[in-house]
Amino acid sequence: MISRGMTAATRPTGLATEEPVGRSTGWWGVMLFITTEGTLFAALLGSYFYLRFQHGAPWPPDGIRQPELLLPLIMTGVLVPSSLPVLWAEAGIRQGRRWQLRAGLFGTLVMGGTFLGLQGVEYSEILREYTFTTNVYGSLFYAITTFHGSHVAVGLLMVCWLLVASLHGGFGAHRYERVRIVAYYWHFVDAVWVAILFTVYLSPRL
């Protein structure tokens, strides 16, 4: 099968298949996937506000302190900029510079990993105060953050996968669609974090 794929890919039309003539099916596919995922997060954060306003003051309830801001802000400082190395990597491979692709992806890997590490630290502190069974606020806090965390984890897996693939030399100026797709997904995961920062950490103070 591989060999057939090979021959197919080496035919003249095959070579052309990822030339940017119009949007590719892959592009549309990932955009729709992101849309439906985005709707999921929107519904989740919507539920947060619904439950909060149905619950009424005080929020957080049961004498739980307002969420600390320092750590989340540091996490934001790590995660949001982690989109830059991806952009840089993509720009590189469009020029066929594989080293740039690898370097960029590696950078993202480090930053995303740090983010998850910090989230672990945050949990270890907060779990001492309340858990996901304490009350609805606890359930919301852990559900939202873990759900996003798991998306970051999946994103990182995809980045690792790209990194390995790029070491095997699958990508180049004509062949970077997979890079593009993973990049879109990573930007999405970043953007969602900003919404979560606002909802979970900032909005209770409003």
């Binding site: 298949t17 596919g29 996901f132 069974t133 897996l157 030399g169």
Partner: protein
């Protein structure tokens, strides 16, 4: 006016056909059966599997009806009845309607837009296997006596761990999450296929209504399904890990469940009916020997319904005591949504009035659809008016409404579609006589079953009761409904018989038995693995009625639409269908099946709380996907790297 490829002038030469055949051939081995990515085979599998699930759910209904035939019956225990009606509803909605219609979409969309397969053939196969496994996952709970028993919308707190211990509701939440993966994958595939793989020249204003309907449906899935998934995930967490989302004692809120469910649930009922309306728009004009009236209006209605349907969900919560103001708003939205439906009904009537009607079995079912759907629609409008709804909600009047719209609005078109496209799918004609018998039994049986439910509802009979006392005026109506159900079952059995008979003894079908107007009739019955030897060029809304199309795949065939090196099809531009480029299609592979199997392991693991098994399954899925999407090894200049 049957016609065959021969009459359509000289097609491409024999050597071209040979090349295509070898490129698109699939290994005929058993392995080949598991590895296929051909949208036609996958589509047929969707149809058969969904039909079997329909049989299960229908037989459950027969059992329910038997129990309800008379007062104080003891054929079913309360526990059995509650599981049966919950599974009946859940399966009819999730495991029959949508997959059945997605099955037709799978088979027809690539043919109708003049492509050689779906945009993502392997994802398509994956979607089918997930649907199959999710369906088995849920149905296997019935013999085990652990089937969902909270009704198809599983309101909390009845469905929380305290009030319903055991696996029942875990089967429900996990099963629907599992199935959701398939539906989402299918929706994305439909949209992308219709956007990028349309035949050159098929600008948006030439896209068949059925394809429009499938695309609109898919967009509804994209936006509605995640909300249901969230709802089920939260319930699963509440049941398994004691989170508090729906626990009023700890600040949770039970109405959150209802809001999330119906934000999905209402769009979902249109997700079910929309492709069915698309089928009507495809079948009806052909038997009126005339193009459909008001194509732009119909497309507009489809889009309008898709959008408005997200703004009416509260009409399922009219008795929960939300603010009067919101009731006013959602009541208005629910009445407005009838207008696009009305437009379509009258567009179809106009088509019939201006055309020359030819009555064949598919058309009979379309007529049955119009009669019953209009009745169901009217009762729907009545519910839209809050005051009336508060009196009739959760009574058998509601059961009557939604069977008129579901059976009338979805099942009749599905049956029409079975008879209409069977020749194309199987290359065999069905028996007209058998078909007419089936229609009349079904039409009479359907009305006999569900019309009396309007009455018993108005007479104060609540739904979801496993028995009822005699002498309240309900008895005769329930007996009638039960009799009707058996008549209906007989009719449906005749459909099954008719299909089998056609496959066994049916006479060979011509390529275009009806004189249809959309592209699936421009190829052989059944179509070859590559669908079209020459990808047609489209010049109008009714390509097959347009000589230029025949010309484009006959004498006027050009190399850039024949594409014989490798499995190839065309990309065209999203809006006006401009020719963009030829693209490579993937070969058959086992990976979709393996990935779906991995997911099955995940969900079984979660169900029985074997979390390590679930983790292993997840690893299997991840590994398979990694291999699936792995980029082929390339030399630097192929990839485009300065060596």
């Amino acid at each position: 006016m049957p016609s065959s490829t021969a009459e359509r002038g000289a097609g491409p030469g024999a050597e071209v056909i040979e090349r295509l055949t070898s490129e698109w051939a699939e290994t005929p081995t058993l392995r080949g059966w598991f590895t296929t990515v051909d949208h036609k085979r996958i589509g047929r599998r969707y149809l058969v599997t969904a039909a079997v699930f329909f049989g299960f759910a229908g037989v459950s209904a027969l059992a329910m009806r038997t129990q309800l035939a008379g007062p104080e019956a003891e054929i079913l225990s309360p526990g059995e009845y509650n599981q049966l009606f919950s599974m009946h509803g859940t399966a009819m909605i999730f495991l029959f309607s949508t997959p059945m219609l997605f099955g037709f979409g799978n088979f027809l969309v690539p043919l109708m837009v003049g492509a050689r397969d779906m945009a993502f053939p392997r994802l398509n196969a994956f979607g089918y296997w997930v649907f199959l496994f999710a369906g088995l996952f849920m149905w296997s709970s019935v013999p085990a006596g652990a089937a969902p028993n909270g009704g198809w919308f599983a309101y909390v707190p009845l469905t929380d761990e305290r009030h319903t211990p055991g696996l029942h509701l875990d089967v429900y939440t996990l099963g629907l999450l599992f199935l959701g993966i398939s539906t989402t994958a299918g929706a994305i595939n439909f949209i992308v296929t219709s956007l990028k793989l349309r035949a050159p020249g098929m600008s948006l204003n030439r896209v068949p209504v059925f394809v429009w309907a499938i695309v609109a449906t898919s967009f509804m899935v994209i936006f509605a399904l995640p909300v249901l998934n969230l709802d089920n995930a939260l319930l699963f967490l509440d049941r398994r890990f004691d989170t508090r989302f729906f626990d009023p004692g700890r600040g949770g809120n039970v109405l959150l469940w209802q809001h999330l469910f119906w934000i999905f649930g209402h769009p979902d009922v249109y997700i079910i009916v929309m492709p069915a309306l698309g089928i009507v728009s495809a079948v009806l004009p052909v038997f009126c020997r005339r193009g459909i009236v008001g194509y732009p209006l119909i497309v507009f209605s489809v889009v309008a319904i898709a959008i408005i349907s997200f703004g009416v969900w509260v009409h399922h919560m009219f008795a929960t005591g939300l603010p009067q103001l919101s009731y006013g708003f959602f009541s208005a939205a629910s009445t407005i949504i009838t207008i696009p439906s009305g437009l379509q009904i009258f567009a179809w009537l106009a088509t019939m009035l201006l055309g020359r009607v030819v009555v064949r079995v598919p058309f009979l079912f379309v007529v049955g659809f119009i009669v019953t759907f209009v009745i169901g629609g009217f009762t729907g409008v009545m519910f839209a008016l809050t005051a009336f709804d508060q009196q009739t909600t959760d009574s058998y009047f509601v059961v009557a409404h939604f069977h008129y719209v579901l059976f009338g609005g979805a099942v009749f078109p599905i049956l029409a579609a079975i008879y209409y496209w069977l020749p194309k799918m199987s290359g065999r004609m069905y028996s007209e006589r058998l078909g007419r018998w089936a229609f009349w039994l079904i039409f009479v049986g359907m009305n006999l079953t569900f019309f009396p439910m309007h009455v018993s509802g108005l007479l104060g009979m609540p739904r979801r009761v496993y028995t009822y006392p005699g002498g309240l005026g309900w008895d005769p109506w329930n007996l009638l409904a039960t009799v009707g159900a058996y008549v209906l079952a007989l009719g449906l059995l005749l459909v099954a018989v008719g299909v089998v008979h056609a496959l066994r003894r049916g006479e060979a079908a011509p390529d275009d038995p009806w004189g249809g107007d959309s592209l699936e009739w421009a190829t052989s019955s059944p179509p070859k693995p590559y669908n079209f030897a020459v990808l047609p060029r489209v010049h109008s809304l009714h390509p097959v009625w347009d000589p230029r199309t025949a010309e484009s795949i006959g004498p006027g065939a050009t190399e850039d639409r024949i594409l014989t090196d490798g499995r190839q099809t065309l990309f065209t531009s999203e809006l006006d269908g401009r020719y963009e480029r030829a693209v490579e299609m993937p070969e058959e592979t086992l990976k979709p099946l393996v990935a779906a199997g991995g997911l099955l392991v995940v969900f079984v693991g979660l169900l029985f709380a074997w979390y390590w098994v679930a983790a292993a399954g997840a690893a299997l899925v991840a590994g398979t996907l990694a291999g699936w999407l792995w980029p082929p090894r390339r030399t630097p200049d192929e990839a485009g790297v300065p060596a």
